[in-house]
Amino acid sequence: MNPGPLVFLATFFALATSWLGFVVMPQLQIGRQQQVEIKDTGEMYPARRPGLAKQGEEVYRANGCYYCHSQQVRPLGFGTDVARGWGARPSPVQSVAQDYLYDQPVMLGSQRVGPDLTNIGLRQTNEVWLLSHLYNPQLTSKGSTMPPYPFLFMKSKLALGEKPSPNAVFVVNGPKENYEILPTDKAKALVAYLGSLHSEAIVFETPPFPSTNAPAASTNAPVIATATNSVPTNSPAK
């Protein structure tokens, strides 16, 4: 008997099992998700990124920001993600597949050399702060280990008495030279992308805490997905 085909069959069997379990089955379950409607606001979640933020996603990818920053908040009971204020959902479940529908590529990240950025668009809405942080993290967060990204900015000389541009991130009024630091299009796009990072909408998979369930709290209850979502569109539980 020639054992060659047997080795091939063994390989085929093992790889096919793994392929079915970890590629085909999850693809059937969560690979065809659609936007869901959020009750109250009637908006569709998640929203598509506007053009500039989409360009910023490319900057984020090209410069490998995801090697240090994760974009996934672990659920309650998994570390202190919620306690550190990285999550925005009043729910034990935090990040879910629905959040990443329009990410291309999906950059979950595997390290937390820097803080999680899942909801940076909610936490830090000051664009100037973000630009300054990218230009030189020490300006905004003393002692940060993040490298500066001066190549996302340009230096522009200022004539004597000339007023700096309103976009200037940093202005130097030295005795020898006056200049201002202006963000390039890439920096602006990256900041737009960071602003677009938020996942606080309550969907079926992330039921809110019971305390927010009480009828009395209904008026200020968080946005809630319509019950259309409660009929699992992808695959039933059984």
Binding site: R74, G79, P147
Partner: protein, 488 residues
């Protein structure tokens, strides 16, 4: 598999009895050019990987270092280092060793060496383009699969060329019965094209939507590191340990048991607990990861029993030292991976430096070290020359061993400390980060030691080639100047 003629041989096709036995020297001669090319470029890439790795490491000493250049930013040199190590060194060294082993175990010459050389060319063009692409900002954004499309296409075809030559060599083997290593190597040959093409099709060519990308990326990365590296590394070790010590492998069946459990449980993806995917995916991953304890222990038992009581003259054989260290790292990294997959531990270690420490222990401590050992064993046979300076081989071993220990140990310990601090909500995040800096800086020492080791590795190989070239030049000269009969 005994030294006597196996009964299956007489019924094998091509009737090898009719043709004369092929000597090991002839097999080596058929492998010489293609396998040496693979080894040399692997040695070049591992040095390049060190170069990028050191730049990345320096960023933790001083973040502003080299910050003015976009192509030297951490998020680019870090993946350049890991891709150069995995695809530049790992795959090429692995394939070179695989081809040589398949030819020797099949007692046949390497089939279609030109195909291998063409594959080698495609592969290296691909990896070069890809690393330049990452440096230039063209990374795909998927960890372990960063090489852009224009790199992965030539690489895929390069692999097909080399893989096809491996298949043909296996097919024309004269020894029909399989030694345990052939199971591992043959499976590895099939494994890579499947996972590489699937991952590239589903992530790069026609990307799936949403978080499925991360799921498929995790599936691919795990299949590459756990299964492909595992199969090739163990296949080589199960051949070389008995070969060098001249003792039989403790158990063929235990080897087969390792093979089956590794390909079945090892191939199930490593989605960490708490990932933004339905709960069953991380749960099934944990299930499979815990079951890989079985192949890990099976390897440990098999290797220990084979080497038990061994005190032969080959004890200081550098190849054996490399491989023995590789086996120890395999068991240790495997235990770390099993531990880190358990919910309670994963809550601490996930997102910390413990994970890259474990990963580097697999890729470098286990796989690269085993490949170094195999290369040091194979290359003298290919060139029929001994290394000019055996001390330099020993130096490489000590540098590589100390390097990986000094790299992985601080990161693993620092990672656990980081995880504990991260899980204490009262510790400010910045304190958590700065707390890891001493460990990260310590690991730079490991990077530097490994880099010097890689330089010596390249010099060792190049030295042998120069010796070979010099000798063949002299032979050619003497043949030219003297009569042909004198040479004999």
């Amino acid at each position: 598999m005994s030294a006597t003629i196996s009964p299956s041989q007489s019924i094998s096709t091509g009737s090898p009895q009719a043709v004369p036995e092929i000597s090991a020297a002839e097999i080596d001669a058929s492998c010489r050019a293609p396998v040496m090319l693979l080894f040399l470029s692997a040695a070049g890439w591992v040095l390049a990987s060190s170069f990028f790795g050191i730049i990345a490491s320096l960023k933790f000493h001083k973040p502003v270092m080299l910050a003015d250049y976009s192509w030297l930013t951490y998020g680019r040199v870090h993946p350049a280092a890991s891709n150069a190590l995995v695809y530049g060194f790992g795959l090429q060294a692995g394939l070179g060793v695989l081809l040589w082993l398949v030819a020797h175990l099949g007692r046949t010459k390497l089939a279609s060496a030109p195909l291998v050389i063409a594959g080698w060319l495609f592969w290296n063009v691909g990896v070069t383009l890809g690393i330049l692409g990452i440096i230039g900002g063209d990374s795909t954004g998927y960890e372990m699969l960063e090489l852009p499309r224009y790199a992965s296409v030539p690489m895929f075809f390069g692999y097909l060329g080399i893989g096809l030559a491996g298949m043909l060599t296996f097919h024309q083997r004269r020894e029909r019965e399989l030694y345990i290593s052939q199971w591992f190597l043959l499976a590895a040959l099939f494994w890579f094209p499947w996972i590489y093409s699937s991952a590239n099709l589903l992530l790069v060519a026609k990307p799936v939507r949403g978080v499925m990308q991360a799921v498929i990326d995790a599936w691919y990365a795990n299949n590459l590191t756990t299964v492909w590296f595992g199969l090739v590394g163990l296949g080589a070790a199960f051949y070389l340990i008995p070969k060098i010590t001249k003792r039989p492998l403790a158990s063929h069946y235990l080897g087969l048991f390792t093979f089956w459990t590794l390909i079945i449980f090892g191939s199930w993806s490593r989605v960490p607990a708490g990932a933004p995917v339905p709960a069953w995916l991380p749960a099934l991953s944990t299930f499979a990861a815990v079951l890989t304890l079985v192949p890990i222990l099976a390897v440990a038992v098999n290797v220990k029993q084979t080497l038990c009581g061994y005190s032969g003259s080959e004890g200081c054989n550098p190849a054996l030292k490399f491989i023995a260290f590789g086996m120890a790292a395999y068991v240790l990294s495997g235990l770390m991976s099993v531990g880190a997959s358990l919910g309670r531990v994963s809550k601490i270690t996930n997102f910390t430096w413990f994970v890259p420490a474990q990963m580097q222990l697999v890729i470098y401590g286990f796989f690269a070290m085993t490949m170094f050992g195999a290369i040091y064993y194979i290359v003298p046979k290919l060139t029929q020359r001994e290394f000019c300076k055996p001390k330099m081989v020993a130096a490489h071993f000590w540098l590589a061993m100390l390097g990986i220990v000094l790299y992985a140990a601080p990161l693993a310990i620092g990672g656990v400390k980081q995880g504990l601090a991260l899980n204490d909500a009262k510790t400010p995040f910045l304190d958590v980060v700065t707390g890891t800096l001493p460990f990260l800086r310590a690991s730079t020492t490991g990077d530097l030691l490994m880099a010097v080791g890689h330089l010596i590795f390249l010099m060792n190989l190049a030295g042998l080639l120069v010796k070979l070239g010099h000798a063949s030049y002299k032979t050619a000269m003497s043949l030219n100047t003297k009569a042909a009969g004198v040479a004999s």
